[in-house]
Amino acid sequence: MIGIFERQADILKLISLLDISPTLYKNANDKYQALAKFLEECDIEADMYPHGSFALGTVVRPSAKDPDAAYDLDFICQLRQTRDQISPSELRKKIEDALKSSDRYSGKLTIYEECFTIEYADINGIKFTIDIVPAADETSQKKQDLIEKSDRPDLLYTAIAIPKHNGNRNYSWLTNNPRGFHQWFEEINKPFLSFNREYRRREILNSNRMVFESVDDIPEGLERSSMQRVIQILKFHRDMFYQNLRRADSDDLKPISAIINTLVAAISASANPQSNVFELLAYVLDELNIYAQHQTLLTEDFTRRYGSRSIIRRSSNDRIWVIPNPADPEDNLADKWNKNPEIPKLFFTWVAVCSKDLINSLSLPDSQFRSTMDNAFGKTTMQKYWGEKYRTAIPTAKPIVTKPKPYRI
């Protein structure tokens, strides 16, 4: 049997291959900076900055079923104006008109209700898109309101407003705070990033000798801590799991990345920053499996049994699920959970499956480990990256042709 450490290394290698490559990272940075420059040339005074997975260092290929799917990289284009100086529709129009007027961007542009997408041509067979979310600075009054409600007021000075589509090209403002979230995330990630940093940077260099001459050339944005890797693993597993539900509404049921980012970071804040990826993954999943008890226990009983755990909460009276957004006291990331009870049920089912697939499977015999990985990350992906590794001499699994239905008298 191939040892646990080699298995862990193989999973990490897989995830690193699904991550953004140094070449793509540089290319994406060049492209978004060029875009920012272009908008400035169009007299749009704005700051353009990454948010979401590109900013947090948790990028993973978006489609679990398609190993050649494009990376979606998200950016905010924030006007140096507050939201009371421009309407959301005017803001959108300003950026839309500029992009449409450009020979360079108009052909690559797709206009969506919430963002503008620029699609870049394949580079070495890898596609990516830049999604631009227009934004304005939030008003001082609104920021003050948020500060008063928050236990982290220092995060709220960066709050922004983005246009929210209400149908019929009608837009209103929606408060958001990606920079505040980024700051909160970085604070927790910092000790994880510091641990073993030189070793990890050297590993990046060793794998990318054609791109970097020395460790000093490696941008910080390419470093990945245990915490970031845990998020990437869970995101990729989530994509496969929810796709396999074979439901038209699976995208509405699956936990958004913001939930995974928040839960993993909030749980990691109490973990040992010297944990390796799999120690941290086990810790996070164990905690989430404890939170699963919220489904059956009364809030008081949960608190009695599990103490003051409050990353996922359930109110005692109306049983409302709450996952607070650390950078926005008015945002409950679990809003959808309260509208459809199937969503939290599936979420905790998925968490249990993650523990089985990503932790328990590490001690299975080779063939069973490989089958579990095929289930977890998809046969196509596994075949592409692992070939026949861990498969024993047994022929491939026999397909089920007849489809018996279990029955009970």
Binding site: S371, N375, P406, Y407, I409
Partner: protein, 227 residues
């Protein structure tokens, strides 16, 4: 009908032991053979692969109309799973569906391949995703009627019951109106589904038993309602 006679039993059990080397004969007499041991199941469907080992007991009645049964002696199936009896017996399918396969020349290896292994696959899939990959039968008589709905390719329960009655007690005549009540000739309506059933005495006997069970249940239900 006899599911497995003494002559074919030895041959089929020997083939079973060869395919599943973890199984051993635990008990054997003229009425029953019991196999006990561990089986490896390596099956795939719907982008999910089951690759696991299970402790199982298989009871094979000899010269009997009863079907073989499989028992989850390793308690791999959670007691809360709706398709496992309290004694651990796996609820593989309706007897009707399985018996029809045996009448059609089924053997124990195929029984394992088409029912026992997919049962475990279905269980693991259900535990992972929360739904049955190939559906499930309703419990009780509804499950039996549901089996015939599939056989007759008929969604209407009333029509299915009329077709069952006809198949159980009449002789096939293609030119009559179809018992489903659609005013078409039987041969151009449900004829192609019921003809193969009506020309086999074992199957007729099987349908008769199912019709009697349904009749009995309806009578009992009616008398309960009258009380």
């Amino acid at each position: 009908m006899i599911i497995l006679n003494l002559t074919s039993a030895a041959e089929q059990i020997s083939a079973l032991l060869k395919t599943y080397p973890g199984l051993k004969i635990e008990k054997s007499d003229l009425n029953e053979v019991r196999l006990l041991g561990n089986i490896h199941i390596y099956r795939t469907a719907l982008d999910f692969t089951l690759d696991n080992y299970y402790d199982i007991e298989i009871r094979i009645p000899i010269d009997s109309s009863s079907l073989p049964i499989a028992i989850d002696i390793g308690n791999a199936i959670e007691p809360s799973y709706p398709h496992r009896y309290v004694n651990g017996e796996l609820c593989l399918e309706t007897d009707t569906a399985v018996k029809l396969r045996f009448i059609d020349g089924f053997n124990l290896l195929k029984w394992m391949d088409e029912y026992v292994e997919p049962y475990y696959f279905t269980y693991e899939y259900f535990m992972r995703f929360g739904f049955f990959p190939f559906g499930e039968r309703p419990h009780g008589l509804e499950g039996i009627i549901n089996t015939y709905q599939e056989i007759f390719n008929e969604v209407d329960i009333g029509k299915t019951l009329r077709l069952m009655m006809y198949s159980a007690y009449e002789s096939y005549r293609g030119h009559i109106n179809c018992p489903c009540g659609c005013n078409k000739r039987l041969r151009i309506c449900h004829g192609k589904y019921i003809f193969p059933l009506m020309t086999n005495s074992d199957i007729k006997e099987l349908i008769q038993k199912d019709v009697e069970s349904i009749r009995k249940a309806i009578t009992e239900n009616a008398s309960r309602n009258n009380c």
